[in-house]
Structures are given as C-alpha cells and as structure tokens.
C-alpha cells in the first residue's frame, strides 16, 4: 500500500481514539485521569523520541526537564501568580533554558558517554529539588497549590472543576506540540537530524555542523518534555522529586522503545501500554515494575522495532 496513504490512516485512527477517549475510557475500565496520564506521558515520550528516534541520540536525563517544568508551574502558581498559562510558560522556559546550558556542555559527547552525563546532570536537579526543603517541599513534594481556571476573556475554562475539560485542554497542548514536531521532522532541518542518526561522518562531510544540530534537537526535545512536565504537575496539583529522578528518565526511554522509536506515534503507544499496565498491575501487586520489565525485555528481544514496528510488519507481510 501507498506509504503516504498508510500514514494518513494511522493519523486518522490515532486522532479519532484520542478525541473520543473520555467516552470509552470508562467502558474499558479506565477513568479520565488515566486518559490524561496517557496523553501527558505520551507527549513526554514523543519529545524524548525526537532526540532518540529521529536524531539517534540517547538521553537518560530527560526527567530533569520534565521535573523542571513540573516545579516551574507549581512554584509559579504557589508563590507568584495564580495563573495556569503563566505557570506553564515559566515551567517550559525554565526547562528549555536548563537544556540550552546543559546541552552546550555535553553536545560534543556521543553514545554511552552522552547518556551517562545526561543522567549525572539529571541527578543534580533531583538533589536540588530533594534538599531545598523550604522552597520545593523536599521529599514530601510541592503541595498547597492547584491548577487555575483559564480566563479566555469571553469564557472561563474550568479545568479544575471538570476532568473532561482538563483532558481536552491537555489534548490541545499535545496536538499543537506533536504538530510542531511532525513539521520539524519533515523539514530540511529534520532531514539533517535523520542524516546524523544514519551516518554522522557522512553528515559532517555534507557540510552539516553536527554538534550544533544535535544541540538544537536536544533543546527542542527538552522544551516539549518540560511542557509535558507542567501538564503532569497540573494533573495531580502536586509534584515531587521523583518527577526528575533518573528512573523517570528511564521510563521515558522504555515507553519510546516499547512503542517503537522509529515511528512517529510509537512512543505514544508505548506510553499507553506503560500507563495502563502500571495502573492495572499495581492494583494487584506492588511489584508492577517487574511485570513491565519482563514485558519490555520480551518486546526488545523479539520485536526490536517496538509494538508499532511489529504491527507494521504484520500489515506488510
């Protein structure tokens, strides 16, 4: 089948499912908050995958920027202004700024060295959130604030009162974000990133300043992961240091690989599987992570292109 047509079909299915999720989530045993978590973590995993799947650079420290977004929005609402949009802006700006600085320091590193240093920087932010008790709430997390209704002038969006409304608010942010990432991936700039992933030496000798392009990709990726972080904090009206710990970074990588990091929607599928499995298994056992771990290993061993890669192969076979 025609590849472009197939892509359009995939897009139509994904958007149809996302737009109707609050209606059928209950019927399949879920609830709206679960749907929101799927979309938010899906955005985080897709953001990570902009760097991992489309630039070929593995970061194990993306939770740092996720967490900075989360603390940014929480602290803004708690200490500065009771405004959801402003909180989001501050959270994303904080995460993106940190990514610009960290990125500039580490962009010359490659492969496992890059991954290790991203973990190290991630842990720095974790310990700041963990230790700076009076400001961040330390280990107990940042409490005592709530997401605020959004005043659009002609109407007020009561995203605090209505979970469904908040779901659509999150979905709108998600849609804008993935649209931007999709446009970038299909742009000349995006093609240089794929070129770097495929063969860095060739890319270099085609006149592409590889370090600069990886830095930009890293910052874009962290920008959107910070945005996901703000939404995550707004969802629970709370954040704690675990949001920026290394195991959260690992979860993003697991989601991307699980769903299929070479496909655009793969990480969203991975996030959905991860969130649902976590929700379902953790109601039966505390060791839900071992179940996800085994599932993850089976996928990596037998379907290295992830769940979506496996489905695709079925479709073409």
């Amino acid at each position: 089948m025609n590849a472009a047509l197939k892509d359009q079909q995939a897009n139509a299915i994904v958007w149809a499912l996302l737009l109707t999720m609050p209606w059928w989530m209950g019927a399949v045993g879920g609830y709206t908050e679960l749907a929101i978590r799927v979309v938010v973590l899906g955005l985080a995993a897709m953001s990570l995958n902009f760097l991992l799947g489309f630039t070929g650079v593995l970061s194990f420290g993306h939770a740092a920027y996720f967490g900075l977004g989360a603390y940014g929005v929480g602290m803004t609402i708690k200490y500065l202004v009771a405004s959801t949009p402003l909180g989001i802006v501050v959270g994303v700006a904080t995460g993106a700024l940190a990514a610009m600085i960290v990125g500039a320091l580490i962009v010359k590193l490659r492969g496992v060295y890059f991954a290790m240093v991203t973990i190290a920087f991630g842990q720095v932010f974790f310990f700041i959130a963990f230790r700076w008790n009076e400001f961040t709430g330390g280990d107990d997390g940042l409490t005592g604030w709530k997401r605020q209704a959004i005043d659009l002038g002609f109407t007020k969006l009561d995203i605090l009162g209505s979970d469904t409304l908040f779901y659509y608010f999150v979905l709108a942010v998600f849609a804008a974000s993935v649209a931007v990432m999709a446009i970038l991936i299909r742009s000349p700039f995006g093609r240089t990133l794929v070129a770097i992933r495929e063969n860095e030496r060739r890319a270099r000798f085609l006149g592409i300043p590889v370090d600069q392009h990886i830095w930009i990709s890293f910052v874009i990726s962290c920008f959107f992961v910070s945005l996901a972080g703000t939404l995550y904090a707004l969802l629970s009206n709370f954040t704690d240091p675990r949001a920026l710990r290394w195991d959260q970074s690992g979860n993003f990588v697991i989601m991307a690989v699980l769903g299929g990091m070479r496909s655009f929607w793969g990480p969203l599928i991975g996030a959905a599987i991860f969130v649902v499995l976590q929700d379902w298994v953790s109601s039966h056992t505390e060791n839900w992570m071992s179940v996800i771990g085994v599932f993850f290993m089976l996928i990596v061993l037998f379907f290295p292109r992830g769940v979506l890669g496996m489905l695709r192969r079925r479709a073409t076979a």
């Binding site: 970038l184 000349p188 700039f189 495929e198 000798f205 085609l206 006149g207």
Partner: protein
Amino acid sequence: MSVLEVRDVTKQFGKLVAVNGVSLAVEAGELRAIIGPNGAGKTTFFNLISGFFPPTAGTIVFDGKDITAIPEHRRVALGMARTFQVTEIFPELTVRENLRVPVEVAAGKRLSPWMSKADKAKAAARIEELMEMGGLGGKGDRLVGELSHGDQRATEIMMSIALKPRLLLLDEPTAGMGDQETYHITRLIRRLHREEKLTIVLIEHDMRVVFHLADRIMVLAEGAVLAEGTPAEIGSNELVQAAYLGKAA
C-alpha cells in the same frame, strides 16, 4: 590560480610519521591522481586536506584561503567535498532521500523548518538531474543499502556533487569493484571532469583507471613524495617502477 595548495604538510601519530612534508598544488579543472603502495600515507593526506584531523605542521590553502585550522563542515561549505574508501552513505534511506540532504544543504536550507512549494520543486528537479547523471535513474525509491556496491558508490559521488563543490576528493572510488562497476564509475568520474569541469583529486589503486583519467599523478611512498608528473612521465620513472609499479605488475 591553484584551487588547492598544500604546503609542506606533516602528520605524526605518536612516533609514526604518516605524512612527511608533502606539498601539492592542484590547478582549476585538473584531475590529479595520488598513487602509492599500501601505508604510503595517501588516505592520511586526504584526511588532512578534508579536515578529518589537523596536521602536525604545514598549511593548507583552498581557493586562496588558509583552511588549516577550520573544521570539516566549514571546508565543505567553502566548496570541498569528499568520498571515503569505505562508502559512507545513509544505507537505510532511499537514493532520493540520500541526495535530498546535500541538495537542501547546498541550497542553504539546513536549518529551515519548512520549504516553499517552489523550493521543493527545485530540489526535486535537482535530485532527478543528479540521479540521471549518476546512472541511478529509476532507482530513486530503492534503499541505498540494498543497491550494488557500484550504485552505492555512484550515490556517494552524486551526494558530493549535489554540494556543487569546487574540489572533489575521491578516496579509491573503484576499490573492491568488478570490471563492469569499475568501468561505470570511471566513466562517471571522467564525465564529471570533462563535462562539468570539476577539479578532482583521487586516490586509486587500479592503474588502468589512473592512467585513463589523470592529468597529473603524484606518487607517495612512506609518507613522502616520490615523484610527480604526467602519466607518461610517471609511467617511465624508474624510481616509481622500482617502488611501486614493478611490484604491482
């Protein structure tokens, strides 16, 4: 004026002197071959010119500009393109996608988040033109990794041509090829040289190819210049015959 002028360049790896005081001047429109036995320092010399690593001593001047200390991607932007001994392409992308990257880079679009319809059409036309020139017509949607060695090499050469270089460096373009493929690549290089008036420096082991293509030949041995001249001069040079051609025959 010389397009490329290498002055007294030396490269040392620890105690090993891989290239020892080599100079070279390549005129516009010239096709220069570099030959020499294995380990003579040919590829190291190429790597110095293209900026793969910096020389220990000496200067490299390209188009009248000292480029000794500037990074490889900026040398490419100045008009220097190269291929590698082991083909460097994007094997999991199609021929068209492989060519599209350098076409867009050459159009100054490497950081562009979008392209106008007119620019897209222009790029597509340029890609078709390059495929046609490289004998890759009809293979645009094939993955490069699935193509024959000769077609992969042709793709790599055309990716370099897409950059509209003022100087093309080819490191053993026919290495590991059968007669048919060697003929195909040799004809392509000859055409780029004769019709597109490209300045080319190539390293080559196949003497038929060298004597067929080259305007001038430089012979390297043990990191230094052994001889330099026209194919006829090199063919009758006793030093060269003793050190290299004699052994090869």
